[in-house]
Symmetry: C2
Subunit: 363 residues, 2 copies
Amino acid sequence: MSLAMQQKIEIAADKPYPVYLGSSLEGLGEYLRHQFDDIEHILIVSHQVVADLYAQRLMKGLQDYRINLLIVPAGEEEKSLDRLSRLTAEALGHGTDRKSLVIALGGGVIGDLAGFFASIFMRGIRLIQVPTTLLAQVDSSIGGKVAVNHSAGKNILGAFYPPQAVWTDFSTLESLPWEEVENGLAESIKHALIADGDLFQFFENEQKPIKHRDCLIWSEMVTRSSLVKIRIVSQDEREQGIRALLNLGHSFGHAIETEMDYRGITHGQGVSVGIVAAAHLAFAKGLMTSAEVDRVIALLNSYGLLTKIKGLDSQNLLHKMQADKKNQGGRKILILPQGIGQALVTKECSDSEILAAWKQVLF
Amino acid sequence: MSLAMQQKIEIAADKPYPVYLGSSLEGLGEYLRHQFDDIEHILIVSHQVVADLYAQRLMKGLQDYRINLLIVPAGEEEKSLDRLSRLTAEALGHGTDRKSLVIALGGGVIGDLAGFFASIFMRGIRLIQVPTTLLAQVDSSIGGKVAVNHSAGKNILGAFYPPQAVWTDFSTLESLPWEEVENGLAESIKHALIADGDLFQFFENEQKPIKHRDCLIWSEMVTRSSLVKIRIVSQDEREQGIRALLNLGHSFGHAIETEMDYRGITHGQGVSVGIVAAAHLAFAKGLMTSAEVDRVIALLNSYGLLTKIKGLDSQNLLHKMQADKKNQGGRKILILPQGIGQALVTKECSDSEILAAWKQVLF
Ligand SMILES: NC(=O)c1ccc[n+]([C@@H]2O[C@H](COP(=O)([O-])OP(=O)(O)OC[C@H]3O[C@@H](n4cnc5c(N)ncnc54)[C@H](O)[C@@H]3O)[C@@H](O)[C@H]2O)c1
Ligand SMILES: NC(=O)c1ccc[n+]([C@@H]2O[C@H](COP(=O)([O-])OP(=O)(O)OC[C@H]3O[C@@H](n4cnc5c(N)ncnc54)[C@H](O)[C@@H]3O)[C@@H](O)[C@H]2O)c1
């Protein structure tokens, strides 16, 4: 199967929108001209490093439009109300109006921030997601979730805001630092674990070409992993049910990240340890064999992802899980794998069971 | 016709919702228990003065729920990202989660602020609007628009966020200062002018009982004026067309308010002068007779609303209109009355025509 060509996949949602996998940055302009006849002004929101690498290629196709490039400093801490406020001032300074279009060119931080901005600026203006990290391509650009953080909680203020389209150019991943690749791999492996056993095997079999960033294999990896997310959010746009499965590993991962104050641990590493904790818990609940747990650990390890973490206290971690915004009425909602390629949502884990799982990933 | 009884009117929208006109604060609890079986926690957002007057009556019906009352200082300047940020911290401190419900108990400031908060907190939690000013009852609580201001523009960040219901208790208007009544009257008269010639006559005929706050006449006034707004937003939730008519007088009014830095002029007075300017422009365009313009001026005057304003420069005001967020691609979009009881949207007014209209309301 040739994956070098562009594929269009429609996401079923209140307002359906297409994901273009394997498209080219240069081609976006033609797409916009073809789809929308009332766009005059475009705001591109990006990081400096991403703009330096890719803005020119993108703008090649956008010569018909009045363009402003808004640069946001890199870093999770920029996903804030403060930054939103500045973007608002800058956008107004550039004469942004209801007919303007926002292009989010970057990773998940840019996608979430610029996406949330687009969702509330003048009560919503049009948005195109152009994801440039592995995590953004397989995960954050798909599904319409946008948000900013608050000192009291991550992604606490946000919206479900479907973009006009997601425009994914695999070639932008070539410049991605390996650490960032890991963040995306953790989510991709999670996708495989919860919904696609074949993809899990693909990750097991193709370690070498994946690590060497073989172009065709990466196209396939991004495509197949994106398809998992697309399938899930198409069934449950608003996270009333099955979409919650995507949080596998995240309740544990967030607890680690907050306990460590987001220092010395990447999101991907946190999620990776979280996946392992969930797998141990699944084993304890009879949802997985120990051989399956071992496969999960081995796969994560083989990509350099953490499967245990040092120097943390299980009680503190348990306590941190209490603040998770997925919890309802005080009950901890957890996602557990069910073998390889399936998962389920459960409220039925006692604190002592959760503690036991924590202990398996601490040393 | 007895208007003392509760009327339920359904607003047609993507997600339809009911407006309960003439309901009682005490009755909301029963309604909630009846409608929703998964609410445990309620956040009431209000001003101190409103809470002192009405929170107890409201809470009488809410004894089954865990309630937190969040007090926001009064004033338009509190419709801000800063206040939103504080509400977020307070809400999290009180254990607010996705199943919590927000009740906005107050005027348009509370409705817009608490409504926007509810729309983005954890990507949206449930909301009930309980409007307590005339403006909020006939206008701002209906139609799902919520927003905060930014130093660079009013209502610049916001959403369309239909509440679960609008719960309107006419009796809360008894305590409203007259200046606040005027703000609501300006919008009510605007409703009559754009869409209900009979209501316009009602305002002409019932001046005395309206000024004396006759309870039955007020019920009728609020009901009929609300119905205009309900009818319009039901046809055009997202302001793609007819809903724009509700902005009659507002482009002019906003220009006055910003030119005066929101000091020494109420919103209602600004809108009132704006309505008159629009009427003059409509006359110049052959849309109104001079007798109709005179009726408009006489009616506004009779309720103590401004119809001319002193000490402002028409060029500056024209310039201020440029920043209106309803403008598109640099063209000024204006709403003009078409006789009494109809209105239209037009881009066809030249700057010199607009200037001439401004001059008619300046001295
Ligand atoms: N909306 C969702 O559904 C969703 C899902 C998962 C994660 N997220 C969010 O995504 C964010 C993380 O996203 P991320 O992992 O993409 O991080 P990121 O956006 O911070 O990007 C990581 C770094 O890589 C740089 N970069 C981006 N593209 C590059 C490229 N092509 N070449 C070189 N450098 C590049 C960025 O400038 C940045 O410094 C978090 O805020 C998380 O909450 C959102
Ligand atoms: N969302 C919309 O569609 C829409 C439409 C029009 C206006 N608005 C917004 O509404 C706001 C203005 O609303 P407003 O005119 O109601 O002003 P407001 O909310 O500031 O209320 C005016 C004052 O009256 C007090 N008050 C409220 N109810 C009272 C009562 N029953 N008795 C005594 N005092 C009471 C308030 O505490 C406040 O001090 C503006 O911010 C405007 O942008 C929104």
